[in-house]
Point group: C2
Chain length 436, copies 2
């Protein structure tokens, strides 16, 4: 309540750079700045763009700080994911990163999970830093699952994971510390699991579509998990995976599960789709999500059972469903950019409008009107050159740019970041032009 | 948008247990359940209450999972903190937990910070698991602070911390993994720091008040930090700290910084306040927040400097300001309870209303009306005994309980969790009664 009244007054709003309810921000107060050039030790396009625009900072290889603008994008990605997880009955929880060795020994992964970070207590005791949470949620499920009446259900979290990756060179695409959404579902039998698996698959499609990404549903090996799995791959030269994609139908397979003859044929330009005969080409892909029918792989070691209608003990069937949340930030940056900088899709942009006042003009009134209308505005009120402001605006990539300048008189310049041309408009039109 | 239309329809709402926009929840779908008794290995009152009501699960000593109801409370606490941090110009970031050894060596804390968890990479390299973030934010500040024009600013995060605590017996009050809000401020000189310090102190008072807590501002030693510090202590028998409090004025001092003669006098019932002569007694307190004038303690080792108006290099002054976010969840539970269970204050309650249908009645219509009015309702639609539902309702501690039962005809029973008596009301009155 306090926040609302605070945001309502422009005077007060100008004191503080942020206001969550209406999302105001003065660029003069923002502590981050754009960089003249991307750091030389950074290879990945997504990281170069995000670092230069001040969305993230690199602490070390594979480990990044989310700065105010980057955190806003991350939060928007999370909101979309949360809404779709809730819509398929996901119940949000938050599980610990610090995990007992015993749980990892129970599944045999204490020694076999190569990228597992470990730590010890000075009072004794060894712990894993969670790279995934089957070892935690299955014992948790045991505390609440007794009968068939307690099934099915699904629980998810958006949480920080740790994996000691080999060569974290992909910027936000492959982190040693990263944010992930992991959903786990619990069922009485494989049929019920399959039904939910289809629901989750549909929810994933919605999520990536809402985020502006074209994600292919790809058959995959499932790595350490299960053979009943699908990956969601966004085609991009920055991707580490190789995907065979049919130009006609929706056939798409990860190279990992394709036989050698097929690979040779495709690489010779002679690959043909096993479904429709169409031409198959190899494309780089970023794996933004994956879904697995775990079946009883993790319920077995913990003896996660329930009593059926006849009172007989049966094993619980499980599915798990991951999305790389911070990887999505990197993926969107990797796809949405041009030679001048980032070009955010509207649903995840840190702000809807970048409002620039140039050459002594004041955009205060327009700032007040837009924010009053509930529009998210980053207001560049800095006393610097027009060139520097325009350059920064392109780097930041906010969807709409509005320029107030003495040159254009009573009208203002309006331009979409994704388009080449600007137009002069009456300030009264702005709310209509900007509102989705 | 999808979420709104989804929530608008009760039919659809009934499929899913959750709906973020309107916060609907069906108790029949909630995977957690109340426990018949608190786990025997748990000593702390807050943890007993939260575990029994299914708000948290204990993974190991000092490490808890936040279950759906507990996470809702945690999120509400975080929202209050965020609003007040934003109101004093705090810019939200998210820093990593995995931190390079070199940063901790620079401040000399790699060896001296006893509760520091450490881990190694299989490819070489040692890391700290962040128990606090001075070692990260100071080098970050170095990248954006060049001139006096870049100061002052303040950045904060709500993030998961790790500390290898000696005896984590306090439930949520002292965790080995816990959520913390840490704000850091950067200034040109001690005077500017002091001004902001006063602002932060005022913001802290607001936060604790909004959360329903009476927090004393206590002079403290500052431990490893600085002598210019204050603690915020909530008096409670469950607290680990000992605070000398004057019965007349606002004098309050942590035992740590009081001399022995004073301690002896106070313990003999003869303590008198150095300010007003009033009687001083020793009380247990929970430290829910602390603020420090770091001055140049951490800017020195990293040479965090700026150029003043004359172009001269000067050292940056800093403050840091912590709040134990998950500790607050424990503190509120420790304070707000009775012999039957939790009694949440309204601003942080997981839901505003607990709606129970008993003995074959249906509360579906009231559920639809309340949720349509934007009220957060947990709807107990389970087919279990009235006694079990009433018992659960007391354990959960949601502020308003509404009972629909054949016994009360067209009227419904309305009761506040914090009060002894119920009354019968016309269902049309409910929205008015419940709305804040």
């Amino acid at each position: 309540m306090l926040q609302i009244s605070f945001c309502g007054k422009l005077g007060a709003g100008l004191i503080s750079p942020f206001c969550d309810k209406l999302s105001l921000m003065l660029q003069s107060k923002l502590f981050t700045k754009t960089l003249r050039e991307a750091p030389k030790d950074e290879e990945a396009l997504n990281a170069k763009l995000l670092l230069r625009a001040g969305f993230v900072d690199k602490l070390m290889a594979g480990v990044y700080t989310f700065l105010p603008l980057g955190l806003r994008v991350l939060n928007k990605i999370e909101t979309v994911i949360r809404e779709e997880m809730n819509a398929i009955g996901g119940q949000e929880v938050l599980m610990p990163a610090l995990q007992p060795k015993e749980n990892w020994e129970a599944t045999g992964r204490w020694n076999s999970f190569e990228a597992l970070y470990k730590t010890t207590s000075r009072f004794g005791g060894e712990y894993a830093l969670g790279p995934t949470h089957e070892e935690i949620i299955v014992p948790l499920g045991k505390k609440f699952i007794f009968s068939y009446k307690d099934l099915p259900f699904a629980a998810y979290q958006i949480q920080t994971k740790f994996r000691d990756e080999k060569r974290p060179k992909g910027g936000l695409l492959r982190g040693r510390e990263f944010k992930m959404k992991d959903l786990y579902s619990f069922h009485t039998d494989p049929e019920d699991l399959l039904k939910y698996y289809a629901k989750a698959l549909a929810a994933y499609k919605k999520i990536f579509k809402r985020l502006g990404l074209k994600a292919l549903v790809v058959e995959a090996s499932g790595g350490t998990f299960s053979k009943y799995s699908h990956e969601f791959q966004v085609l991009s030269p920055g991707g580490e995976d190789l995907i065979y994609v049919c130009s006609k139908c929706d056939f798409a397979k990860n190279k990992e599960i394709v036989d050698e003859a097929f690979v040779r044929a495709a690489e010779a330009g002679k690959g043909s789709c096993p479904n429709c005969g169409g031409k198959v080409t190899a494309e780089n892909g970023i794996e933004v999500g994956n879904i697995f029918q775990l079946n009883t792989k993790y319920s077995d070691p913990f003896a996660l059972k329930y009593k059926d209608e006849k009172g007989e003990e049966k094993i619980v069937y499980m599915g798990c469903y991951g999305i790389g949340v911070s990887r999505l930030l990197g993926t969107i940056a990797e796809i949405y950019n041009d030679e001048k900088g980032l070009v955010w899709p509207k649903p995840v942009a840190p702000f809807a409008v970048h409002l620039l006042e140039l050459n002594g003009a004041s955009a205060k009134k327009i700032y007040a009107e837009l924010t009053k209308a509930g529009i998210e505005v980053l207001y560049d009120d800095r006393k610097i050159s027009a060139g520097a402001k325009l350059n920064d605006s392109d780097l930041l990539g906010i969807p709409y740019r509005i320029i107030v300048s003495p040159k254009t008189g009573a009208r203002v310049e309006f331009k979409e970041r994704s388009k080449k041309t600007a137009k002069l408009v009456n300030p009264k039109q702005l709310v209509k032009l900007v509102r989705p």
